[in-house]
């Protein structure tokens, strides 16, 4: 089994601060981390490798410093790491990103065996939202299995697999075939700590650095800004909530009266809630 896991190095958004006065983004000292959702995907991939044998290759597209994220992924236990880094990719939106990544996955397939499963995290916390996975699946025509909560079974010979997928009001049981793309729902597993061997391999083995050409990406017009239909025009901080809390009038009123006023104020602001609470029986 050859499994490829796409990860992304993102700023640790919990550390992003907006300057209270100038409302600008304070980026000093904001460390980078592996996109938390991708760690669930990596753990799932490692579990599949440990159960069915094979190798896990980790791929990321980003600036040269994204190598740190790959080193961490290797320390968790991945077998090989590829960093896709090139000026042409700067400013890529999700469409251009999925194009570049899918070409790189294909190239990895040529050198290390076509991947049976491509894992990605559900989404990233810094901007893209659940579009790169489907984009890769569509371009490499892999079966697209998103929001997967459990890989029930894989039969390497018949190349069939069974998964459970989170849907709006329930869980779907799906049967599909390899090769496929799986995005993993958060919380389904917990990333493992690598062993000493993993840590040593991470410290010693080289991270493969590929530019556009190495990854077999010919059409540069599909990359970076030119390949991106969407573009960010403005980034700004949400304005602080204008009004302070509406203070309920409490002077010379009994607790019961204030409580009644409060409930009235709540229902005035949330009619849907009022209907739900005051209607008779199950609507």
């Amino acid at each position: 089994m050859h499994i490829v896991v796409c990860i992304k190095q993102v700023p640790d958004s919990a550390q992003i601060r907006v300057h209270p006065v100038t409302n600008t983004i304070m980026r000093q000292g904001v460390p980078t981390i592996i996109n938390p959702y991708d760690l669930f995907a990596l753990e799932e991939a490692l579990q599949v490798r440990n159960r069915y044998g094979g190798e896990v290759t980790v791929l990321t597209m980003g600036p040269p410093m994204a190598e740190q994220a790959l080193r961490k992924a290797l320390t968790h236990g991945a077998d090989r790491a590829v960093l896709l880094t090139d000026r042409h990719f700067a400013g890529s939106d999700t469409l251009a990103t999925s194009y570049a990544l899918s070409q790189a996955v294909a190239k990895i397939g040529e050198s290390y065996g076509a991947p049976d499963i491509v894992f990605t995290g559900k989404q990233t916390i810094d901007g893209d939202t659940a579009q790169v996975g489907p984009g890769i699946a569509k371009r490499l025509n892999l079966q697209q299995l998103t929001y997967v909560t459990k890989i029930v079974s894989i039969d390497p010979t018949s190349r069939e697999l069974m998964v459970e997928r989170h849907a709006e009001s329930g869980t779907q049981m799906l049967k599909s075939t390899l090769p496929c793309l799986i995005t993993v729902l958060e919380g389904v597993n917990a990333i493992r700590r690598g062993s000493l061997d993993d840590a040593f391999r991470a410290a010693r083995s080289p991270v493969l650095k590929w530019g556009a050409a190495d990854a077999g990406i010919g059409e540069l017009t599909k990359c970076g800004l030119r390949g991106s239909p969407t573009v960010v025009k403005r980034v700004f901080a949400p304005g602080p909530r204008a009004e302070k809390a509406m203070q309920m009038d409490i002077n010379d009123k009994t607790l019961a009266e204030v409580a009644a006023d409060t409930v009235a104020a709540i229902f005035a602001r949330e009619p849907v809630l009022e209907r739900k609470l005051t209607s008779h029986g199950d609507r």
Binding site: A14, Q28, K138, I250, A259, L273
Partner: protein, 378 residues
């Protein structure tokens, strides 16, 4: 993508600032479409909200609003969805009916939607940011090689008719406005409970354009074996309760948490607390709301005796309505609550429970709604 000089907000990047004209081939894309998501035949509330939003955008652009329905004729069928489309403001409906569309699978739904879009060329396509909507939108956008902005909190159209989609970034600490420059349709997804639910008006069914799904079951690799519907019980944990009642040190002692639970049981809410209560051992750690606990997005959050440290604030800011009860009117929680009651939480909770009970029908069975699990009575 974010500010280059780390002090100034990012201004326009690349082509956006040059304001290039729309490519010729996209000029004939018109009208606003809303994908109606069906859940066992019933229309998902987010699609209704999007129809309301779609109507507003269509009126601003002076174009039509269309509802897109993909489903199968078995069971409830697609008729109720078509009625809902027109009742909430659609001018026209596009329908693809096929047994292959009974249960959601990516391949048939993507094919059906992309065929409709390539034939009738909408300029804006809105979908709900549900697991179905995001799975479908990603695949359709890639097939059409067009732009998709997900989880939008605000939609608008500029003077030149292009869609301005605003969404949170960097974990919600910032917002950004994204444009789809020269590709159509401009796709966007929106989460439920972000847009207002429009008024319903009983209107006759208008024009329905039906399309065939040119696909056979054998060609579809992924099969749906089963569907386990969760009966809402799983809803009851804090993270996705509609109502949450939180207790803080202002309650005085562990014994007084009973008042908190009485209120929660009465109005069907989950019970949570601030970090100090966990620290004092009054409540288990999985009840903690805040940075190192749960992040909640309920319709209503009642904070009783919580001062509102910043770590607590980031955990509750997603709530639609925050009611704070605290004896100290300078408590930080009043800076981000919507409704404030300066009173002793211990005394006010019973009165509030009583006030709610009076407005609710007697012994109203609230089993049906998603409510705090009964076994919260630890």
């Amino acid at each position: 993508m974010v500010a280059r000089k780390n002090e100034t907000p990012a201004n326009a990047v690349g082509r956006a600032s040059s304001g290039k004209k729309l490519l010729k081939c996209f000029e004939d894309h018109r009208h606003v479409w809303v994908f109606m998501e069906l859940e066992r035949g019933k229309v998902h509330p987010v699609s209704i909200e999007l129809l309301g939003e779609g109507r507003r955008l269509a009126d601003k652009l002076g174009v039509q609003l269309a509802g897109v329905i993909l489903g199968s004729s078995e069971g409830v069928g697609t008729k109720p969805a078509i009625e809902e489309a027109f009742a909430y403001g659609a001018d026209i409906a596009y329908l693809v009916e096929s047994p292959l569309l009974a249960n959601y699978r990516n391949e048939p739904f993507t094919k059906a939607l992309t065929d409709l879009v390539t034939t009738h060329k909408p300029e804006i396509l809105l979908l709900g940011a549900t697991t179905l909507g995001r799975d479908l939108a990603g695949a359709v956008a890639t097939t059409l090689q067009t732009g998709l902005t997900a989880d939008c909190t605000e939609l608008d159209v500029d003077g030149d008719g292009s869609l301005a989609a605003t969404r949170p970034t960097f974990g919600g600490s910032l917002l950004c406005t994204i444009y789809t420059l020269n590709s159509r349709p401009q796709m966007a997804t929106v989460r439920s409970r972000v847009m207002a639910t429009p008024q319903r008006a009983d209107k006759p069914i208008g024009r329905v354009i039906q399309h065939e799904l040119t696909m056979v079951e054998e060609a579809i690799v992924t099969k749906v074996l089963a569907f386990l519907c969760n009966d809402g019980s799983e809803q009851s944990n804090l993270a996705n309760s509609d109502i949450v009642v939180g207790g803080g040190l202002g309650l005085g002692a562990a014994g007084n948490l009973q008042h908190l639970r009485n209120l929660a049981t009465t109005i069907g809410g989950g019970v949570g607390c601030s970090r100090p209560l966990v620290q004092k051992g009054w409540m288990p750690a999985d009840r903690q709301i805040g940075q190192s606990g749960h992040t909640i997005r309920p319709k209503l959050y009642i904070a009783a005796g919580i001062s509102g440290a910043v770590q607590h604030r980031v955990g509750v800011e997603g709530a639609d309505l925050i009611v704070a009860i605290n004896l100290d009117q300078k408590a930080p929680i009043f800076d981000f609550a919507h409704i404030g009651v300066v009173a002793c939480a211990l005394e006010f909770l019973p009165a509030l429970t009583e006030a709610f009970a009076r407005r609710m029908p007697p012994h109203n069975s609230i089993k049906g709604m998603d409510r705090g699990r009964l076994d919260d009575q630890e």
